[in-house]
Assembly symmetry: C2
Homo-oligomer: 308 residues x 2
Amino acid sequence: MTENLEGQTCWIAVDWGSTHLRVWAVNASGQVIAQDYSDQGLNNIQENGFERALLDLVEPWLNTGRVTQAVACGVVGARQGWCESAYQETPCYPLQAAQFTKVSCEDKRLAVTIVAGVMQAHPVDIMRGEETQIAGFLSAQSDFNGVVCLPGTHAKWTLIESHQLMHFTTFMTGELFDLLTNHSVLKHTVAAQGWHSEAFTWGVQQAYNEPSLITSQLFSLRAGAIVDGLPAAEARARLSGLLIGLELKAAEGYWRHKEVVILGNSSLAKLYHQALIIMGVQAEIVDNERLTMAGLSCAYSQLIHEKG
Amino acid sequence: MTENLEGQTCWIAVDWGSTHLRVWAVNASGQVIAQDYSDQGLNNIQENGFERALLDLVEPWLNTGRVTQAVACGVVGARQGWCESAYQETPCYPLQAAQFTKVSCEDKRLAVTIVAGVMQAHPVDIMRGEETQIAGFLSAQSDFNGVVCLPGTHAKWTLIESHQLMHFTTFMTGELFDLLTNHSVLKHTVAAQGWHSEAFTWGVQQAYNEPSLITSQLFSLRAGAIVDGLPAAEARARLSGLLIGLELKAAEGYWRHKEVVILGNSSLAKLYHQALIIMGVQAEIVDNERLTMAGLSCAYSQLIHEKG
């Protein structure tokens, strides 16, 4: 899918997560002229295989005789990643070039910069990748003051004021859903597909109202299947509702009485939207498809500005 | 390890769980004259391999020309087990012969009876195996009125009054600990061994005080390791404390102002004991090593009585 764009590519944007590697070729006008992806995320990559995995995608875009800058975000900057990049501490602007980390490459046509993640001292928390989406979101809505929710494996709730990330909280909601669905006793109970809206609503309310009972509510899905014949698609929706409802209870300080934006384009973002409606809150979903790219553009601009 | 006890074995006790199969040969005086075990629990067994797995252990104990009764408890009676046995509904006496299920064997020297599990309609819940431990416990302390806690993969809290199991609640605490330790992002953070008492106490209090924050508290172990260098043994103790503290919060209606007995002989039982001390409650630990055997003896007595 990569084309030979030698001579046209000005810089390369890189979103490098646990399960995927996505790249965009950007021309001098800031337009995306090509994109590609692979499964060479942090979980799948060979040791010392980072540069190779990146070249596998971007080599056709490189220019002989000059260095093309790649700007990367995500867990590629984690301790287990290519090179551990710094963490900024909250409160902070989500991307600041002074905190970026340069990685040396064997291939002299390529220079890689990894943006900084964000950490919080109390309560201790970290993010990598989400700060870039937030920067991308703020680049289009610079006057936003409110709460940004990023559903996912490790869902984040963040408070934004005056362009700064003030504080944030991470919840292992998505990872727990995957663990319980695929590796726990519930794997016999919870369908891989299918849905049931009322069961989702029930789950959200159940966990919100009695959060401490969560591990009992989880087991009740299994008991319900055996005793009452709870259908597997309904169990799936209940499980999702329970975990999101638990998160909403804990994150209430974020979403109650605040303007809330959910960054996402997946069915998961719609579930968070729906769960907030159950709580009486109308959030806005902003498609995050282009936000990482937009955030990386901000990072690249800063790099150029810093050099200039 | 099995001896040839032909002619001496009166009946056979069988504890058949997810990961193990344990058997005892009992003589006419009710004494255990031999025991054995294998890893042929429900998770490891071949389809239709139940009788074979049992014979592999007990064949030397069988008597040619007469039928030896085996009495079994545990997930062997679950839907995915050898034969689904009934569930009694709470409130109920933990073992009642009228609810037992007979399984037909190919080998005519062997007759197998599976005791009934216990179910609860509201809130829906189930147990298999724990009812036998409880019956064994009550056989020695028949005037017990109070709360019995059974730590484990699926921890149970049960209220006992006038020899009856009144109601109970299951928590997926042990399974979540295993999932998080072995399969989640925390596997890099949490040691397989090691301990730290203060970290355990901290975790118990943290989850007890803010139960809805559990999935955030879990992630903070990872963040704490990265930002503050939280040692892996300390993270292990915190994780254990968080999950047990969450369970104690939800089970407070059981243990507050009640006599509490913990059935177990593992380090886990001691952790529950310690966590309850943090809550100001002095529980008693009763070694469960012989309780399953004692419960199965009660079941066998009932079977004989029923026939007689």
